[in-house]
């Protein structure tokens, strides 16, 4: 149990995908302007990450058995993209409210590097299936945390008198780097809390 908690906490805080591993920066900068879009996007990310891990784990086992490990990346991209499209179609038919909430963000996140990253990292870390799921859900929640924090920062930025040469993307990137630095403060916190 402690191990799963450790994986989850690490993925959320110390190994945050956006702020520590610098994966998934494009949606992080693109959709963090407003809180509700940030939350919608992050929910889609949690969903897709969990789904992608659940599907690619058995595929990876198959690939390793056939000694085709080098195909991991391309096969995963193919499978995740197709799967998310399928889920989108099914959601649209059977769960319109959920589709309205996630729908527009699902295709955006399909082939995102964070999604592919979590899947590939699960393999390099030699996680079991349950551990992989734990890690990918944690990575998604960490993404959500980063998005929510950053949308707050950005809404403050909008009311500020920013020098002209920093307006727009430059100040957003600077703010993102400061938020990222603040996450370095979490180093060692997981081991500390869990007493490892």
């Amino acid at each position: 149990m402690k191990l799963y908690l450790q994986i989850l906490m690490t993925a959320i805080l110390t190994g945050n995908f956006v702020l520590c591993k610098f994966l998934g920066i494009c949606p992080f900068l693109g959709v963090s302007k407003k809180l509700n879009t940030a939350v919608g996007m992050s929910a889609a990310v949690v969903f897709v990450m969990a789904l992608a891990t659940a599907v690619t784990y058995p595929i990876n086992t198959f690939l390793v058995a056939k000694e085709l490990d080098y195909l991991q990346t391309i096969v995963f991209i193919l499978v995740i993209a197709a799967l998310v499209q399928l889920v989108e179609i099914i959601l649209k038919k059977f769960m319109p409210p959920l589709y309205n909430a996630l729908g527009i963000y699902l295709p955006l996140i399909t082939t995102n590097c964070a999604v592919l990253g979590v899947v590939l990292l699960n393999i390099t870390e030699n996680y079991s299936f349950a551990q992989s799921m734990c890690n990918s859900v944690g990575a998604g929640l960490g993404f959500m945390l980063a998005m929510v924090i950053f949308s707050g920062v950005r809404s403050r930025l909008e009311g500020c008198d920013i020098p002209k040469f920093l307006q727009g993307l430059p100040i957003v990137l600077i703010a993102a780097s400061i938020v990222s630095v603040s996450f370095m403060g979490f180093t060692g916190i997981v081991e500390g809390i869990l007493g490892l």
């Binding site: 195909l71 499978v79 499209q85 399928l86």
Partner: protein
Amino acid sequence: MNPILLAVLLLAGIGLIAAVGLTVASKVFAVPVDEKAEAIRECLPGANCGACGYSGCDGYAAALSKGETTNTALCQPGGTEASIAIGEVTGLAAGEVKPMAAVVLCQGHNVNSVQKLEYQGVMSCKMAAQVFGGPKECIYGCIGFGDCIAACEYGAISICNGIARINPYECKACKMCVKTCPKGLIQVMPLEETKAAVLCKNHDKGAATRKECKAGCIGCMKCVKACESGAIEIDRFCARVDIEKCIGCGLCHEQCPVGAIDLISLVKK
């Protein structure tokens, strides 16, 4: 088997399965779309503001398509252009949408108003309003923490000198800010017409208002007496202009001793 051939076949196989699966799924799970509603939806601005009275642009488009309403002029942000476009799609008569813009009825900026407390907390008007009615002496005035900025889809609002100001050229009169303001200070005014507006909502007695804000309405009745069209009335020590009756002559503006009445003449560029 040749490892290269195996890899190629494997990938091609997965791709084929995915393609067939997706094609079948898109046919099996196809959702019938109301094409007319989609076409109407294209004419609307997509702000989902609810100014039309429906649950957003999709709701309004569906209502028009199903014939629940025949009024094409309900969309404030889209204006007359949207109405004409909807008319072309549906064959319904296009109506004219009077251009409107929102105005903040407060002049209690940092110079005019007096602070009563140093607020340290969540920077939200809604929150601050619960702490003794806000950080300013005047409990009716603009708090200036920008809840309306967050509500505005068009970036028309900014905080200027401690109070919210709305740029009429950006404002689409969707009334999101009107619903958000905890003090109810925002009013939608017609564009391209000159109307008087009392830029104060302070209902305290005159002497108390004077202590709270330099530009507060003290309820002296001078404007009521000056108004020839009977458009102004005093409600609990604060003047109010009836927009319908106001002719924009400016007599009240000249009479006001505190400068609380202003003539608003917003002209679209």
